[in-house]
Symmetry: C2
Subunit: 295 residues, 2 copies
Amino acid sequence: MSINQVAIVCGTHGNEITGVYLMKKWQKDNHPISRDSFKTELIHGNPKAFEINRRYVDNDLNRQFSSDKLADESLGSYEESRAKVLNQLIGPKGDSKSDLVIDLHTTTSNMGPTLLMPQSGTFYNLLAAYVKSNMPEAVIFCDEDHKPNDEHHLLCTTGRYGVIVEVGPVPQSVLRHDVFEQSERLTQIILDFVDLYNRNSLPDLPTQIEAFRFITSVTLPLDDNGERIGMVHQNVQDNDFSELHPGDPLFITFDGEVIPYQGEKTVYTAFVNEAAYYDNNLATSLMEKFNLQIK
Amino acid sequence: MSINQVAIVCGTHGNEITGVYLMKKWQKDNHPISRDSFKTELIHGNPKAFEINRRYVDNDLNRQFSSDKLADESLGSYEESRAKVLNQLIGPKGDSKSDLVIDLHTTTSNMGPTLLMPQSGTFYNLLAAYVKSNMPEAVIFCDEDHKPNDEHHLLCTTGRYGVIVEVGPVPQSVLRHDVFEQSERLTQIILDFVDLYNRNSLPDLPTQIEAFRFITSVTLPLDDNGERIGMVHQNVQDNDFSELHPGDPLFITFDGEVIPYQGEKTVYTAFVNEAAYYDNNLATSLMEKFNLQIK
């Protein structure tokens, strides 16, 4: 079944401004995000949060898209309301007018250009293989927790298919030349893929590619009062998608004590020391590396 | 005239959290910031901005300390009020109980550990030489605009002497292990210097050191409506205190056009692409390098 309608959502988080400036660029240009075989719509996800230069006004918009929340009219905060509007515009979830939703994000973590895919299946496998072939430095991040789609709370799950373009490192509220270009390039490669997919003209793709799968998150070291007593160790800082072995330094307390990683097997990190996750004291995600089988 | 009382101010900007966690550490430890020859007081500059995780509530606190503003009771925003309280606590400006104010800041720019000195004189020269001798990677940043002290609007000018410890890169609202350690080390070296200065026991110091002097700021490229149309070029990004020659790429528009630096002489950059300066569309400071004569 071909992809007739694509929605690109920018500025879902108000202080991740790269997508918003890409949107302004694409609106001015002569439709560089359209292709012959499908239409593309550009949406500003959270204009009010952008205006006040914050991640969100009341709640994280990118956690409001489970079917239950979308159906619950008593949830009336700004983002809970905005989610319902966006769902009408690009969804509705479960019966979506958008065959693909691409949601543009940035991170303060050193994750490079990352394609984040919350769900799995042949379409996603082919997309990942095409991206990896055309942008080898891109990371494939599979967040498949095997939840049914209606329980997923991410904005991109309002589409029939949905992915996140996640690029860093860039501080919140900052434009970086490299991150801007990587975000644009990864998005364009996804659009190229969709056009080739529609026209049944995909090139030969590898039979398997390297990918990462989310395992769990780890929290910063806290005292009994819930106060932070340490931070991410410099060996881990900026080393997203690098190996973390049992016994490797993971945190350092403000007093200088090293706290090692206490897991039993080697893992990989992602979203290391992401600014937006301090609310919940999340220090890093732990991932496993695996070979994603394409066909 | 010896230094009897030092004030260290942390968290003057609410989302520069490194200083606040250093403060918490120093409060717990057995007075690692005191020395025999002077007393040190620790002050949380802007606790309300820290609580809401923003640079400031109403105005930038670090622009409220000119004598005129401090005397103007009609200026009643949160930071305008807080400035008057701090001036009572650690000043008053012009007749200060604090012989030295050290104000701890961080930046999203790649400035490393920087000692920023808004004023000049023998004390500052000796301090700069001692810092450079003990921490060669530290940068000496002279912001001497030869204004009389009462016109200076920085918090640290409430002391008889005043300096800023400015370390980066670190995103707003983030703790980085390396930036935390550099901030602590530079502060401790300043305190060591004061103790030696008081006891007339300074070691032999170089007769001159490399330093940078502020010339001017440059703004991001804007269109006729004041909308940003470009960003800092990647050759300049992360290259604080590096040379910028006439004709070097300085900006790139969102459409991909390179805008070169149009000055007539080689300069150096600082505060490159600092997040907090987007409000005013400031892209970078331009500096000149010079030899600071110590004696």
